[in-house]
């Protein structure tokens, strides 16, 4: 850096200047985030100082709509939270509050106060914030639904818990059951349905580590709108993530061919093409959840909803094929790969063509090649002066003259001379016949 300065030229100074400007934000930003989570936290203000007032229940603040904002913070709760246990101070989030008396604060109501105060999270958790800004929640908020979830609605304000195992990056097993409960704060009806599903019941009853919680399908911070055409077209991949994993599926004896067999059939192929070629296309072709259910997914042998039960499958088909009758559902291979036991007809048709195609290809190919080469050989022979080998001349003109044909040819020549002499006046009608059209009337 200093070296160029020793050769003071205009260009040198300019380039260093540009270089420094270019470096400044990049080098400064990470260190700022690591060392000081908030821009200007006055760390001399201790938590005890804050809690001397806010640790007392009953502290409230009047808002514009006349409601009261509760200012009480449970000291225990904060101490046990991930922030408290790692020694983060109140002022690191509430950086702009300072000492008492605090600067003026106002909000239209309690919800607006929450939304405003949530802006502090992004100072440390920038990537999660960015993701959340793409979510269906942020979208709803922007569209005016002020109830749409912000950070503290899921994470709480002062009791923020650790969700993720830092080493593996996986959700902590102890937190998995908490996830649906968290979403249930707003999506309670879906939660009730989920609890009855094969996934939800295994999570709550057996703390099963393999079943999906809400976030495994919907994502965490960048939760997508699941009602869009794009989500629908992508959805088979969500299911396939677990259902094509042999390590997981072998535990439960579930086939991992489900995606391949789906894609091999009418519905799946079309859905997969649209997913790749026109991801926003609306299609009525079924995806996994159209048959298996969404939050109410049941075991395949469930008597009420399971698709292994014939009546249930028929009812499912009839949703799109109202004219379907008893035999119709077996048109769907039920994720089986045809074999002599399962769908023998399909299996044997396949087998038949496995033999027919090579036979046709090879048989015809060989005959054509042989015919072609014999012709070439004949052609070469005829070009060489070989009077004794003229049994197969190349041109049709002189080709294949058997004795019989020669005999007929001479016979016809005779006839022609005879007819030419006798029927010279028939010329016009004969030329009409030559076109061949007249003959068709017969």
């Amino acid at each position: 850096m200093i070296r160029p300065l020793q050769f003071i030229t205009l260009v040198g100074v300019l380039s260093i200047g540009i270089l420094l400007i270019g470096l400044a934000p990049g080098s400064a930003a990470p260190s700022l985030q690591e060392a000081t989570p908030t821009p200007i936290p006055n760390l001399s203000i201790s938590d005890d100082y804050c809690l001397s007032c806010h640790g007392q229940p009953g502290q409230t603040f009047p808002l514009e709509d006349g409601s009261e904002l509760d200012l009480y913070v449970d000291p225990e709760e904060h101490a046990n939270s991930i922030h408290g246990s790692q020694g983060y101070a109140c002022v690191q989030c509430h950086a702009d509050v300072g000492e008492y008396p605090h600067p003026p604060f106002s909000a239209a109501n309690r919800r607006e106060a929450t939304i405003t105060l949530n802006n502090v999270c992004q100072r440390c958790h920038a990537s999660q914030h960015t993701q959340a800004m793409d979510s269906v929640h942020a979208q709803a908020l922007a569209e005016g639904n002020r109830e749409a979830a912000v950070c503290s609605d899921c994470h709480t304000a002062h009791a923020v818990q650790d969700w993720v195992d830092e080493e593996t990056g996986e959700t902590l097993p102890s937190m998995r059951p908490v996830i649906p409960q968290t979403c249930a704060k707003c999506h309670s009806a879906i939660y009730e349905t989920y609890l009855t599903s094969v996934h939800g019941s295994a999570l709550t009853d057996q703390s099963n580590p393999d079943v999906p919680t809400c976030i495994d399908c919907h994502g965490v911070h960048n939760i997508e709108d699941p009602t869009t055409a794009a989500f629908r077209l992508q959805s088979p991949r969500i299911c396939a993530e677990c259902h094509t994993d042999p390590a997981v599926m072998s535990k439960y004896g579930i086939s991992t061919d489900v995606l391949d067999t789906y894609v091999a059939d009418f519905h799946g192929t079309t859905v997969m093409i649209f997913e790749q070629q026109s991801p926003d296309a609306e299609t009525n072709k079924p995806v996994c959840y159209d048959c298996h259910g969404i939050h109410d997914i049941k075991r395949a042998d469930d008597p009420e909803k399971g698709l292994q039960v014939k009546e249930n499958l028929l009812a499912t088909c009839q949703k799109c094929h109202p004219d379907a009758q008893e035999n119709f559902p077996t048109a769907w291979l039920s994720h089986y790969i045809p074999s002599p036991d399962k769908y023998p007809l399909v299996y044997y048709v396949n087998l038949f063509y496995k033999f027919l195609i090579p036979t046709v290809l090879a048989g015809m190919g060989i005959l054509v090649v042989m015919d072609f080469s014999r012709r070439m050989i004949n052609l070469r022979k005829s070009r060489q002066p070989a009077p004794h080998m003229g049994e197969e001349p190349p041109t049709p003109e002189s080709g294949h003259k058997t004795g019989l044909i020669e005999e007929f040819q001479s016979q016809i020549e005779e006839e022609i001379t005879l007819e030419d002499e006798s029927s010279g006046t028939d010329q016009p009608s004969q030329s009409a016949a030559e076109t061949g059209e007249e003959v068709d009337h017969g």
Partner: protein, 244 residues
Amino acid sequence: MSEQMEKNAVQKSAVQTHKMFMRFNLGQRWEHMLLLISFTVLLLTGLPQKYRAATWSQQILSTPERVELIQTIHHIFAVVLILEVIYHLGKAIILMARRRLPGDIFVSWQDIRDAGQMVAYLLFLRKEKPIFGKYSFEEKVTYWFIFIGIGIMLVSGIILWFPEVVTRVLSGGVIPAAKLAHSTEAVVAGIFIVLWHFYHVHLQRLNLSIFNGSISEDDMKTYHALEYEQLMAGQAGKSGEEQP
């Protein structure tokens, strides 16, 4: 077209030019055109649907509207082909019932012998090719291979078109079986046409008789010697009678 008329045609043309023989009448030529067009369109609209995993196919079938359009075109030309088949079979049955259709196209033991002799010729075990009648065994192979192929395509295609109706009678398993048969038979037929039919009518010699209806005397002697012989024999008899 009756044999009688054919003979008359041959007689007249032979007298005039000694060159062209009637081979296919206008109806037959139109049938071939319909077959050619419907077969091509069906293949072109069907192959993208078969090879859905391929990128080129996915680019064609990229939106629901396009899939629907391609399927509609496929269905329209399927109807054209069905009508052609009905016409072809109906006409053949009526003519046969009136004993006005010579059974030249049916396979006989002679065809098996011809095929054997042809293979022997190609293997240099014979010096001469076998001689053929109106339809050589190669042409009969073409006709019957396509005949059976179209039969499979029509049956399986209709099953795929109306699965709800078909499964009222048949088991559901026929639908995936029909899908497999339909898409595979199409490829078999496509290969067959390109390899066998194109070779015989384009490469071996350019045979346009199915378009212009007629065949030269030279080709007649070379490729349909038996038929030529019979026609000449018949004509010889007639000419003899007609002589004053």
